[in-house]
Amino acid sequence: MSTLTREGRATGDRRPRPQHEDQRRDRRRDDQVPDEGATPPGQGPDAGPLAEMGSPQRGRAVKDAVARVVMWGAFGVVMIPLVWILYTVVSRGVHLLLSSTWWTNNQRNINSGDVGGGARHAIEGTLMMAGITAVIAVPIGILTAVYLVEYGRGGLARAISFTVDILSGIPSIVAALFIYAVWVTTFGIERSGFAAALALVLLMIPVVVRSTESMLTLVPNELREAAYALGVPKWVTVVKVVLRTAFSGIVTGVLLGLARIMGETAPLLILAPYTKNFQRDLFSGNFPTLPMMINQDRGDIGLAAAAERMWGASLTLILLVLLLNLVGRIIARAGSVKT
């Protein structure tokens, strides 16, 4: 998120950081004025200006110290569980990831208590599902945001914006039940990876819309006007200037959305039952994914091999999301605003 705003701001020619530092330096200089013995007008030297001016400064120092402690405290509170989780997952899962079959094999014919096999089926499944979800949700999300920011006026835009708000508040299990009701109960189609992807689409759209929207509003209006004044039609301006300027922010937003849905489990539980086998057909049959693999092995956690696999699959999922973020960062960097 931090790169978002940084890069988004860079599109305007305001540079908040140095300004801020200037202000801080200025304020510090102000603080020193009483120390240098300056007397405010209307106050004689006997009024003890130094003593009076000194105390608010001490007050500020105390506030500064308190704020510092609170900040570091908050930072620690956040870091402890994070480090703990990472440590647990890595220490228990990493050796499976180093085994030769983990990245190549599936779990077919391997009983819960047995070691061996790999997570290739679930990795492929998770990537496929994320891919198809993104292919559907990203265009819809970006186009919606473009409509809301560049074209939408009045009732329809407000209605859409309200709908997106509602959508972003829907629990994943409810989205899954909705797809189940439509897909399975109403149309009678069997459960499949694609059905689960549809539920994930519902969860991803609002994330993409909101992040893209905020990136588009950061694009300074002067750039749109500059393009219009060159006789460039509005839609070309939107595509070649506005979306182009906001590109890296939009990529980051899409990644946040993807990271969110890759770990979603409820829609998978309801719509895409796990299989230990390879499954490349999104439209029929059970579908393997990493969260479901974790869930499966959690059921047999009493067995050492299953517990191990659970940690291995967890670490793999974390790594996948991390990798995706990395790739996105590189894309965003390549397309970001250069000065």
Partner: protein
Amino acid sequence: MAKRIDVTDLNVYYSAFKAVEGVSMTVEPRSVTAFIGPSGCGKSTFLRTLNRMHEVIAGGRVEGKVMLDNQDLYAPNMDPVAVRRTVGMVFQRPNPFPTMSIYDNVAAGLRLNGVKNKKSLDGVVETSLKSANLWNEVKDRLGKPGAGLSGGQQQRLCIARAIAVQPQVLLMDEPCSALDPISTLAIEDLVSQLKNEFTIVIVTHNMQQAARVSDRTAFFNLRATGEPGRLVEIGDTTKIFNNPTQQATEDYISGRFG
């Protein structure tokens, strides 16, 4: 190339607020017309009606007639995009496209309208940068980002970008207000050169600048805050500055000169 603008009885609105009222004037081709007047009197607003940029603002509306030679800019079948290709604009704050290189900025108007031919783009970029007096400073770094130039260079880049699409008229809204005296002089020289090819309208708060660069001057004023701005008088710059017909013009000009 250059065209004459004839404005008759123009009223300009922001939603219900009438910002400019009853302006009629002629802008002569191949000359520089300066707009002067106190802040808020509607110079920018009026200027933006000359290339239909006013209607980009939500609630922006215009009544009256603007003729470019014998074309009615506000005729129902007139395409605002085509108008803006003919009447270019330079803004108060330099606004190069931040994602584009110097070359791409200048080529933007043509490229975004579908010109792909590298040879002809190269030619246009070079001549435009030369006319904007920027070529020598940037010819070795055309691939570098346009936003990396100094403010004055950026403004000349924006002028190059505007003239690259070969407009007939160039509107400039306080193009020097963000610049130092040396860059200002560079831009003023540029304006004097460009008027051989284009019709130029320039808004400025700087009396000396208006006197230096313009052939004709239009003085805008408003009676009171909240009232719409009006054109008080327009005439040859020497006449407006030395011997204006209206008392208000004289007050404004002499007030400024102290």
